[in-house]
């Protein structure tokens, strides 16, 4: 994260309050050129507010925003080298697709030839070259999404901001657009920041993930960092289907309520062990468990197990005969390879 070079985008102590309510707690974030950064969090966590502050639609209550070392905190959105793809697209219904895409360039008084040439390029980039003369209401949701993307990309923004860009699309289209976004990011080598509540989307697209909760950034790191070594209980719980098992640490040894104990350095007190479902497997001398639910997902089987401590442990198996092995009501013993331990407050 720390770099001796000036990052492309640098947020320092940025915060936003609406009246007495803090929407975004003071935070620092640095994004390097070429990054594909996801701001991940549940709805109402302040992620959209943060994005809109970067875009210039919301004036921060404190802190600063610098792009390429230049302070843009007080500049309006029309003066910032950022462009945004809005969640509801915000396409101009009175203009054709090509006019929508060329809107920003036309404002800059570029020559007609340049506008139409770059419009064509942008439409080709999002694979809508045949749709230039269509009106917006003649497009499907996925096509409108592409127009919104082309309209922002044609401006060659230093940073492209995307607000829940794929939220309105159905699952299949969403996966297709994720691929498109990755391809476009790769093709133009730009810097993208997007907001999402969907951790799989964040992991599928981003190389840098900032997890937010209640206006606070809980963790910034690569997807694998965030997934494998969550910094807080919230991150552990929010990212992926993890099981959180309660326990107690005494003199470098953690004992879980469910039974297992293991070595773990740290402060004495209550802890939570984070167990990833794919790390759980049958183990002859393991913890006794009862299968309470088994859901088949095609590629894998998700099994919910009740432990003696009355906690739920999730197991994911991709073995071919998994469905036969785990049936609701079965009593078995399970174990797991390793776990992450996080200090938990009392209770």
């Amino acid at each position: 994260m720390t770099s001796q070079y000036t990052p492309l985008l640098k947020l320092s102590g940025l915060s936003k309050s609406f009246g007495a309510a803090r929407a975004v707690e003071p935070l620092d974030l640095a994004v390097q050129a070429g990054d594909f950064c996801a701001i991940l969090g549940p709805s109402g966590c302040g992620k959209s507010t943060l994005l809109r502050m970067i875009a210039g639609f919301i004036e921060p209550s404190s802190g600063s925003i610098a792009i390429e070392g230049r302070d843009v905190t007080r500049l309006g959105p029309e003066k910032r080298p950022t462009n945004m793809v809005f969640q509801s697209y915000g396409l101009f219904p009175h203009l054709t697709v090509a006019e929508n895409v060329g809107f920003g360039l036309a404002l800059q008084k570029k020559s007609k030839d340049e506008v139409s040439q770059r419009t064509e390029e942008a439409l080709r980039l999002v694979r809508l070259e045949a749709f230039g003369q269509r009106m917006i209401d003649r497009l499907s949701g996925g096509q409108q999404q592409r127009v919104a993307l082309a309209r922002a990309l044609i401006m060659r923004p230093k940073i492209l901001l995307l607000d829940e860009p794929l939220a309105a699309l159905d699952l299949k289209l969403r996966h297709q657009m994720q691929e498109e976004l990755r391809r476009i990011h790769h093709e133009i080598g730009g810097t993208f920041i997007f907001v999402t509540h969907d951790q799989s989307e964040a992991f599928a697209l981003a190389n840098l993930v900032a997890v937010m909760n209640q206006g606070r950034v809980e963790q910034i790191g690569s997807p694998s960092d965030v997934y494998l070594s969550p910094a807080t209980l919230f991150v552990a719980d929010f990212v992926g289907e993890t099981s959180l098992l309660a326990g107690e640490r005494r003199q470098g040894r953690v004992t879980l309520k469910a039974g297992p104990h293991f070595v773990s350095a740290g402060r004495d007190g209550p802890v939570r062990a984070i167990v990833r479902p794919e790390r759980v497997a049958l183990k002859s001398d393991g913890v006794p468990a009862v299968v309470t639910d088994a859901v088949f997902f095609g590629a894998s089987l998700k099994v919910s197990l009740r432990l003696p401590s009355d906690e739920t442990l999730i197991l994911r198996s991709s073995e071919a005969d998994a469905a036969a092995r785990y049936r609701i009501g079965d009593k078995l013993t399970v174990g797991w390879e390793d776990q992450q331990v996080i200090d938990a407050g009392p209770g």
Binding site: G76, E78, N83, G90, F92, L107, V115, S116
Partner: protein, 282 residues
């Protein structure tokens, strides 16, 4: 389909029976003649000739008043509706209700209110003399074109605000944010994003106010004096005092046709404007 016809039948019967047919008959009357206060079926252009020669100037002047009122109403209506839609927050709908309430105030009440404001011993003149700006009442305040236009704008403004507000309600904030994000200044947002999206509302507002103003005869009668009279007054005069129905009919239809011409030209201009883009064309 059958059901649709059945449902439409009553209103069509009423419309055709008591509107379309009488109007058509009245149009026919404009080619008739009058002899000793009696209508005679005829085919004469006398009434139309009278309309063009005697009332030509007054028609143009009536149109000018209508255009002025339509323009002022549309402009002021847009400003009000814009503020109610984008600047008033949750008070926007309240402002609209207030607008509607002013419609309950009678038409004549408003005219008399203006009479007591603009008259020789009215509020405005009293105030001007009170602070010593003039030593005698300003006569041009009332019984003038200005007075007619002011009263009509005041009366018709709600008819402009409502359609414009309805059109602005459909302009999404996101399109405005998107335009700003793409580099549009405040005035560019207005001219390239907001106005084009509410053209239909602006058009209905203008058409409504223009037609109602151009056809009005009560306001100029009470506030216009001799310099502010309009064609409608003389239509009334021909029908009643002069008992010259053909003349009144020709004048009514003459004004109607000219007004429709203006509206038609405007609609054509509007649809041309809609097709015109802010630059990009590929």
């Amino acid at each position: 389909m059958r059901r649709a016809i059945l449902l439409l039948a009553p209103s069509f019967t009423v419309l055709i029976g008591i509107f379309a047919i009488p109007v058509l008959l009245l149009f026919v009357v404009s080619f008739w003649s009058v002899k000793t206060f009696r209508l005679q079926p005829d085919f004469s252009f006398a009434a139309w000739q009278r309309f063009f020669t005697v009332y030509g100037d007054l028609t143009l002047y009536t149109l000018a008043v209508g255009l002025a009122v339509g323009l002022f109403c549309t402009l002021l209506g847009f400003v009000f509706a814009y503020a109610a839609r984008f600047k008033a927050g949750r008070f926007g709908d309240l402002l609209l209700v207030a607008t509607l309430i002013t419609l309950f105030g009678g038409y004549l009440v408003k005219i008399y209110a203006w009479k007591s404001i603009l008259g020789a011993d009215g509020l405005l003149n009293q105030a001007l003399m009170g602070i010593g700006l003039t030593d005698q009442p300003l006569a041009f305040l009332i019984y003038s074109r200005g007075a007619v236009i002011i009263a009509l704008v005041h009366f018709l403004l709600p008819f402009a605000i409502l359609p414009i507000y309805a059109a602005l309600r459909n302009v999404s904030e996101t399109t405005i944010e998107a335009a700003r994000d793409l580099g549009a200044s405040a005035s560019q947002v207005l001219t390239r994003v907001i106005v084009p999206q509410c053209l239909s509302g602006l058009f209905s507002a203008f058409a409504f106010c223009f037609l109602l103003a151009a056809g009005d005869y009560v306001t100029p009668m009470l506030l216009g004096g001799t310099s502010g009279s309009m064609l409608g007054q003389f239509v009334l005069l021909e029908f009643s005092t002069n008992f010259n129905w053909p003349a009144g009919s020709a004048m009514s239809f003459g004004l109607l046709f000219v007004c429709l011409l203006v509206i038609g030209a405007l609609a054509a201009m509007g649809s041309r404007l809609m097709r015109r883009s802010p630059g990009a064309a590929s």
